[in-house]
Symmetry: C2
Subunit: 248 residues, 2 copies
Amino acid sequence: MQDGPRFRLPEKEGFIEQLSIDCVIFGYRDRSLHVLVPKLNFRGGLSTLPGGFVRQDESIDEAALNILKGRTGIEKIYLEQFQVFGDLERSTGPFMRDIVRENAERHGENAGEVAWLTRRFVSIGYYALVNIAKVVPVKSEIDDSIDWHPLEALPAMVMDHNKIVAEALKALRNDLDRKLIGFNLLPERFTMQELRELYETVYDRAFTRSNFQRRILDLGVLERLEKKFTGAANKAPYLYRFILPDQG
Amino acid sequence: MQDGPRFRLPEKEGFIEQLSIDCVIFGYRDRSLHVLVPKLNFRGGLSTLPGGFVRQDESIDEAALNILKGRTGIEKIYLEQFQVFGDLERSTGPFMRDIVRENAERHGENAGEVAWLTRRFVSIGYYALVNIAKVVPVKSEIDDSIDWHPLEALPAMVMDHNKIVAEALKALRNDLDRKLIGFNLLPERFTMQELRELYETVYDRAFTRSNFQRRILDLGVLERLEKKFTGAANKAPYLYRFILPDQG
DNA sequence: GGTTATTGTATAAAAAAAATACAATAGCCA
DNA sequence: TGGCTATTGTATTTTTTTTATACAATAACC
């Protein structure tokens, strides 16, 4: 039998019981989408979405940001709430029961205090889209590792986490230009080609270059800046940036 | 000082704590939208959305249906989950505290058992659209009355319930033809004019008759039945019904 | 059987989207 | 320096979709 978890489970004081948050962090680089998946330090590793619990003194949006920061090191990004997962069977499997039992063996003193984790949980899903090159995930003390996995080759995750990712992707595609999710993602100044490649990756289809440019510019949310030096033997592309809406 | 509540508050055993569900039931009749609002039996009446709590042995979708049935008598309809409301301040006002205090004065014996209700709650919003003529709301024992209120003239409700209605309306408009929310609403067999009047009411705008008919028929979800006898001195309209998707 | 109001559908006009064409240009190289 | 090439930005053409308008069908009345 392998080691039990080397981390301490949280005690219930200060948290809302039976309510959790799971974050689907889509990472973009080189025309492909990845999902950030920590591996719990437990029995050689269990893949889970970065999730956690809601403190009594924070809103659910704040909780999502705090959970994300604590579990991945990522902060100051826009997270979008997309769906609640509340089936009965979703969290009644052996997953948390085993963790709690082995945690109790190792850290006997707080055994009774962590039994709350074996109960049924309702989980609120949040997603974000970030630039892999701009973000450095840092594993938390409860995880062994944290890695980007290609969307098409995700590991089997605990409970219904693979389903949560599938629903998050639907929501992302639904929201991409309506909610300007790209804000998190691109460098402050980017070319039209970089933006188009992002769209093509998220929707997994091609967009005609000329029409894409017109459609995006017609949204009226981009400001044209100076030209970008590429060194290539051809016309230099302009840089653009998002015009942030007035804070009125 | 008026009477305290004449009902017994639920004790926490069997429920998920700090998690609630609120239902926005849109009612349609005579080209206008209403919202079903029960009035709590408390201090002469407090308007609230029909809401309640999630039992340990039911999914959140089942909970929404059970809450709706218990609070309004309405059953067997399609409820759509649309958003979670989890701001810190949303449920920290005097609303529940007052109810619990006066409940304790009246029914002293279970006073300690209902303190859970004064805590901060996170609430999952569900909405539905029903035909006022086909549904008979029945007030529950915790309410004094239950009434349809025109969408444009809703009473001030407790906590953030007016905001929840506003968000539900956005979701309804977003989903109406994508999710065929009309299923709950229309009689089994209906005319194209009845369907169009519904759309015009929900979106609060006119649709050109001929174009509406083509657009809806092109969706491929309606089956044409026999003509309807109207008695009017003009061409009789066909009846249509929704083709239910295969249950495979 | 003519009249009237309304329905179902066809056609025309307008708008939007997609495909294509073409001019501008940054650096290379003769 | 001036042609060459690859890529960008935009204009134009083509197609599709949406909207507006026209018109034939018809149920009950007189």
